[in-house]
């Protein structure tokens, strides 16, 4: 085959992406105005967002490779990570999973900084660790599909911008559930919801399939399923959920977009549609979605605790069964969001039972963690503190979930502050505490700088107390008749609500302290991280810090499990073929 000498001249950086996205948006609006059926601009705005996103991705460089192959031009490889160690690699399309992990991390931190949309995109907050760590932990040099991995990151900035743009259109009045007909009544801000969430669905599917292929296909020799670190198991199960649940959301969003633009009536009761269709599709996605949050968090807790307890994971196989149990049951519970919506009464006992059953695999996660702590020699580091905080918070979150799963009590508690307190205990008290544990544990490997443990301890106690002070009163407020999402409420509850507001500011203060710790530890008192500061056995700590561009000089051979602490004759976890690492902690 003759390879043409012609080269494609599309640049590949985000500035070109933005320069292309702006005309893309206006082209979409123009098309929508030409062909739109209604005069409310919805068609134009949705087309504008979509074309802007495609143009942005083209500008970043996603079209270069397929076009080069299509026309037989010379393929220009994206710079090999080994050659490119400059700071600029973080601002370009990169196929190195470690660069993508850092890109993700910074994007998430920026979103958290800008507040509101951070809450929407929190679902992606454990992704950076997955991208960065999974190949390292399984002994691979890259993800199975690096281009797909880059895509699953690069759709997130447009999604964030599009969601933020809703502010200028008056926001979307429905909250994240987007129930029609309210979402059909809503103004142009709703279009941001549709396109932004659809892009996130794309990211969930692409990263899900990529993670599964990587974990199944690229494990190093000797990395058997029973030697797989628990964090990888957490990512594995969450990827199954993401891959299968996100298309349902995408389908529902397409129906909603069609209702709003081309006058279909999927959700319009007076013309034969039904809002129950949306409620079922949304929660069929939405309930696995909340386990997409929490499964990596379970993985993080079961991963970190053995390393600081200096004991093998107590019941490895049981823990894996627990993760899969949660993942499986999460498909059979979605109608507990609809107990009072008017669904068929005969369905309610089933969904009550299936929801309560989830507490069994969740209890297994607690058992495995507490069993690992039992008679241990606990090294009380900051990640360990956050793990214990997670256990306490998630215990309250889990128990309050049983209250909501019981139909008679759910009649009073549904849609009240009680349910809001419940899911904040699981998502913020659970997932975010696990995120903090992961940050203090793995950031030294990712950035090469230790975080200050003194500030970390203050951060933990401040956040733990402020979190509980903010959200525990909400259980009481909910029981005392306050519904969610209201601006006026029972005057008797003013005192408690003020307490919560003040606590929420303190909670925000703890986040500021975390940011201060990052800045202090990275730029002012930079303590370089050793290759293995925690003396952990697992594979990611056996490579030097900073991690070499190719991860491993040659493919490592895994010869032992990651948690074999204290076992007589325990071998180091892997034969790394003579590169300079550190020996395992055993």
């Amino acid at each position: 085959m003759v390879v043409s000498e012609r080269r494609l001249a599309i640049p590949n950086n985000p500035i070109a992406g933005i320069l292309l996205a702006i005309p893309g948006y206006f082209a979409g609006v123009w098309l929508g105005t030409l062909f739109g059926l209604t005069d409310d601009q919805n068609t134009g705005v949705i087309l504008g967002y979509l074309l802007a996103t495609v143009a942005f991705l083209a500008g970043v460089g996603f079209l270069n490779y397929p076009l080069e192959r299509l026309f037989g031009w010379q393929v220009i490889p994206i710079t090999d990570p080994a050659e490119n160690r400059g700071i600029g690699r973080f601002f370009r399309l990169s196929l190195d999973h470690k660069v993508i992990g850092i890109q993700y991390m910074v994007t998430i931190l920026l979103m958290l900084l800008f507040g509101g949309i951070g809450a929407m995109l929190i679902r992606t907050s454990l992704r950076p660790f997955g991208n960065y760590l999974v190949p390292l932990m399984i002994g691979a040099r890259r993800m199975a599909f690096p281009r797909l991995e880059a895509l699953s990151f690069w759709v997130v900035p447009p999604a964030a911008i599009i969601l933020a743009a809703a502010t200028f259109w008056g926001g979307f009045p429905t909250g994240w559930t987007g129930y029609p007909p309210l979402s059909e009544q809503a103004g142009q801000g709703m279009n941001s919801y549709i396109v932004g969430f659809a892009l996130i669905a794309v990211a969930l599917v692409t990263s899900g399939v990529n993670m599964l292929a990587t974990i199944i296909g690229l494990r190093a020799p000797g990395m058997t399923w029973t030697r797989l670190p628990m964090f990888v198991w957490g990512i594995f199960t969450t990827s199954i959920l993401g891959l299968l649940a996100a298309p349902v959301l995408a389908a529902a969003l397409i129906m909603l977009a069609m209702d709003r633009t081309v006058n279909t009536t999927f959700f319009v009761a007076s013309n034969g549609g039904s809002n129950y269709l949306w409620e079922n599709l949304f929660w069929f996605f939405g309930h696995p979605e909340v386990y997409i949050f929490i499964l990596p968090a379970f993985g993080i807790i079961m991963e970190i605790v053995p390393h600081f307890a200096r004991k093998p994971l107590w019941g490895y196989r049981t823990g894996v069964v627990g993760l899969f149990g949660v993942a499986l049951l999460s498909w059979f519970v979605w109608q507990h969001h609809l107990f009072v919506s008017g669904i068929a009464p005969v369905l309610r006992p089933f969904y009550m039972l299936s929801t309560e059953l989830i507490s069994i695999p969740t209890g297994i996660i607690f058992l495995v963690t507490l069993g690992t702590l039992w008679r241990a020699r606990v090294w009380f580091t900051v990640p360990m503190l956050f793990c214990l905080g997670f256990l306490f918070n998630f215990l309250i979150g889990g128990i309050s979930g049983v209250y909501l799963s019981d139909v008679p009590t759910d009649v009073t508690l549904h849609g009240s502050y009680f349910s809001m307190a419940h899911f904040h205990y699981t998502i913020m008290g659970g997932e975010i505490f696990a995120l903090m544990a992961a940050a203090y544990y793995w950031l030294p490997k990712m950035t090469g700088k230790m975080l200050s443990p003194m500030l970390g301890r203050i951060h933990f106690w401040w956040m733990f107390i402020a979190f509980n002070s903010t959200f525990f009163p909400l259980f009481i407020v909910g029981l005392l008749n306050m519904p969610r999402r209201v601006s006026s409420y029972n005057p008797a509850l003013v005192g408690l609500n003020r307490w919560v507001t003040i606590s929420a500011y303190f909670l925000f203060g703890s986040m500021v302290l975390f940011a201060a710790n990052l800045i202090y530890s990275w730029f002012f008192v930079a303590r370089p991280a050793l290759a293995n500061p925690w003396h952990a056995r697992s594979l990611e700590w056996q490579v030097p810090t900073p991690v070499p561009a190719r991860n491993f000089d040659r493919v490592p051979v895994i010869v032992a499990g990651p948690y074999d602490y204290g076992l007589p004759n325990a071998r180091p976890v892997a034969d790394l073929g003579g590169i300079v690492g550190v020996t395992g902690g055993g």
């Binding site: 009045p173 429905t174 909250g175 129930y179 007909p181 009544q185 007076s270 013309n271 809002n275 129950y276 200096r310 004991k311 107590w314 019941g315 490895y316 196989r317 049981t318 009072v340 919506s341 008017g342 669904i343 009464p345 006992p349 039972l353 309560e356 507490s359 209890g363 297994i364 607690f366 058992l367 507490l370 702590l373 039992w374 008679r375 241990a376 020699r377 606990v378 090294w379 009380f380 256990l391 215990l395 309250i396 128990i399 049983v402 019981d406 139909v407 008679p408 009649v411 009073t412 549904h414 849609g415 029981l479 999402r485 209201v486 601006s487 006026s488 602490y565 204290g566 076992l567 007589p568």
Partner: protein, 280 residues
């Protein structure tokens, strides 16, 4: 270990006694509300020892399994204990199944059986049991239609000629069948003290049963985000009154309604006002 167990039993006993002392919402203004309150109490009583036990284990590990020497030492290599794991799973399974059985029993007891909504009839079918228009005696079930719209509720009494009112009055000790529907988007009819919550869906007749057993006022508010003034879609003007007071009140309402009844659509299971597609 035995010492731990004793402490756990003592703390749990105190916790359970405390949990039994509390007064649980939604209290006792209706039979259904009372059932919900007792379920809430049962859940709290069961949750107390679980919560105390797990917190004790976390604290015990944090205090007594702390490393005491400066250098890193490994703990005993315990890989798991099958009987303990089986016992843990069995105990949690028994608790969960017990809760499910109790929940289903409460659900299927006569009072709550139809308490939460029934699915709406398909569009085009007739409205069924409510459209009789005949006044029921004090023993029979009262049919009240709850109509939600942005941003208030109105009520139609099917047994009293479809009279429409802006306040909800219910007679004491008489079973009430609420038919909840919406004119525009999804709302949720929440009468807190009565233990009633039912979504109001356009084109759907969502049925909820309640039997008030104490006179007094109750609050009514919307519990499903419904747009700009959702927070103000609330009042505390609901009243449970004696049957004779109710008869007096409804007669007054019927007299008022005679003058405007001609312009109000005739009584139906649900309504589709114009404009059909978009209310906003």
């Amino acid at each position: 270990m035995v010492r731990l167990l004793i402490i756990w039993v003592i703390l749990s006993a105190f916790g359970i006694v405390a949990a039994l002392q509390l007064n649980y919402p939604p209290y006792d203004q209706s039979i259904q509300g009372q059932d919900q309150a007792s379920t809430l109490k049962l859940l709290t009583v069961l949750a107390t020892p679980v919560f105390i036990g797990v917190v004790m284990m976390i604290l015990y590990a944090a205090i007594y399994f702390r490393r005491t020497v400066p250098e890193l030492v490994d703990g005993p290599p315990m890989l798991g204990n099958t009987p303990v794991q089986i016992a843990w799973v069995a105990i949690s399974a028994i608790l969960v199944l017990f809760l499910a059985v109790v929940g289903i029993a409460t659900l299927s007891s006569e009072n709550v059986a139809q308490a939460v909504g029934q699915p709406g009839r398909a569009i085009g079918q007739s409205g069924g049991q409510t459209g009789s228009g005949t006044a029921g005696g004090s023993g029979s079930e009262l049919h009240v239609q709850v109509i939600a719209q942005q941003w208030y509720f109105t009520y139609r009494y099917g047994d009293y000629g479809g009279v429409e009112t802006t306040h909800l009055y219910l007679p004491l000790d008489r079973p009430v069948e609420l038919h909840v529907t919406s004119l525009d988007i999804i709302h949720s009819f929440w009468a807190y003290e009565l233990g009633v919550k039912a979504d109001a869906n356009p084109g759907v007749d969502n049925i909820f049963h309640v039997t008030p057993q104490k006179t007094g006022s109750f609050q009514v508010r919307c519990a499903e985000l419904c747009g700009l003034w959702h927070g103000h879609m609330a009042d505390s003007s609901g009243q449970v009154v004696s049957q004779s007071d109710f008869d007096t009140w409804i007669a007054g309402q019927q007299a008022d309604f005679n003058t405007i009844g001609k312009v109000v659509p005739s009584y139906a299971p649900y309504y589709f006002p114009e404009p059909k597609l978009k209310a906003g």
